[in-house]
Symmetry: C2
Subunit: 252 residues, 2 copies
């Protein structure tokens, strides 16, 4: 035998076939836990698909689907003829379809949001173009300033078509915009982002506690729902000393 073989005949992997959670997902979740806790070490090979499937009483396609989930997340790497092993390096969360509010909440920090302005405005040309509307059509305009502790972190400006949601009755200081959209049944499936940088304007600088011309990290995002309809367009500016985008790329 070459090198050490694997543990993980799956001593405490449990499957609930009566659960509505798909089997492949149950397996993927438990594998992810085992990797994150270090129970399966980085670089370690896991057992082959067929044996794993047999151990868990699953078919090979289902087992493959479970492994694929983690491969897509960049936690596992497959090598034909060799096996599947855990990637080295600490795992970072990849960019997902969530907002900064979710990010910070998950990180255990205390984000605070100040709503600067909410209201309906006629869409300018770029907004109309991104949201697939006509120039001058009414859209919600939402400007917010986000803090972490006492530090201003991000200046966010969102535009939403008026027929998507009604923002008047929402306390956006307490609820994240994306969280609210989710509760109303708006599911965002695809988003296109553009990340760049530029110098701060005078007004931005004042809001963010920076000087005019100070470097800002910028992000523009257009999000689309299930039906391919554009539901949100946002232009945001971040203080680069407090925020950065991390992402994991996987080549397939």
């Amino acid at each position: 035998m070459s090198g050490y073989i694997v543990r993980m005949p799956g001593p405490r992997f449990t499957l609930d076939r009566s659960s509505p959670v798909p089997l492949y997902f149950q397996v993927a979740e438990q594998f992810e836990q085992a990797i994150l806790t270090g129970e399966i070490a980085p670089g370690e090979r896991i057992e082959n698909e067929i044996a794993l499937a047999k151990d868990l009483g699953l078919s090979r396609p289902t087992m493959r689907q479970a492994i694929q989930v983690l491969v897509d997340k960049g936690m596992l790497v497959r090598k034909r003829g060799v096996g599947t092993q855990v990637v080295h390096g600490k795992i970072r969360r990849s960019v997902e379809l969530t907002s900064l509010f979710d990010d910070l909440s998950a990180a255990g920090q205390k984000p605070r949001t100040e709503v600067l302005a909410v209201g309906k405005v006629p869409a300018e040309e770029d907004v109309a173009h991104e949201l697939q509307l006509g120039v001058g059509d009414d859209v919600w305009s939402l400007e917010r300033l986000r803090y972490v502790g006492k530090q201003p972190l991000a200046l966010m400006h969102n535009f939403i078509p008026v027929d998507v949601v009604d923002l008047d009755e929402v306390d956006l200081a307490k609820t994240g915009l994306y969280a609210h959209l989710r509760t109303t049944g708006i599911l965002m499936r695809v988003a296109r982002q553009r990340i760049g940088a530029r110098g701060a304007g005078a007004d931005e600088a004042a809001r963010l506690g920076e000087k005019k011309g100070a470097p800002l990290l910028t992000m523009q995002r257009t999000a689309y729902d299930n039906a391919g309809r554009a539901v949100e367009y946002g232009r945001h500016a971040y203080r680069p000393d407090l925020y950065a985008f991390e992402l994991t790329l996987v080549d397939r």
Copy 2:
């Protein structure tokens, strides 16, 4: 019947079963072409999986796999009980495991690279950490300045473990670093990136034709090969008026 049904019984979809290219990939490629050329319009529903599989003489799993490729790219959206349709909005390339050189070449522009310094240096702490080496171990250090036309665009600093590749005999002014790594059999499968911004230092500013303190877009990337071994760590700075990162996020 609701709405219009679909074209695309696949008049000129061709499959080559003797080709080494997987069938699902052949189908995905031709579908992608049809979408990019507008032959299948945004918002349009495509035929259901079973009918498509039958038309092309494939099994449903294979057909699903083909569609999944495009769903992962954010070009198609599936809805259970309804069907699969083309996403609205123009499709942008998502971030992939390629370098700026590839990006610009593909865009038809003429990138030029000036090699500022190549050599072996002892790894500093952060470099050693990212590359899973000891502090002081020799690594290749590669500094390059990239131009588009006469405009300096990016200042790039890469670090590569000495046992991964020999950079002495390579003309890095003509060959992209990633392209060279690929030709030597180094395949990068996973990369973790961090995108941020900061003000330019005096030396950077001079190199990039900017003023000291001017906003720069920064990217740090650590790439891992098949075996999960760290093969490259790079710290790069971009002129934000000439470059931005675009990416497509897909929620699954």
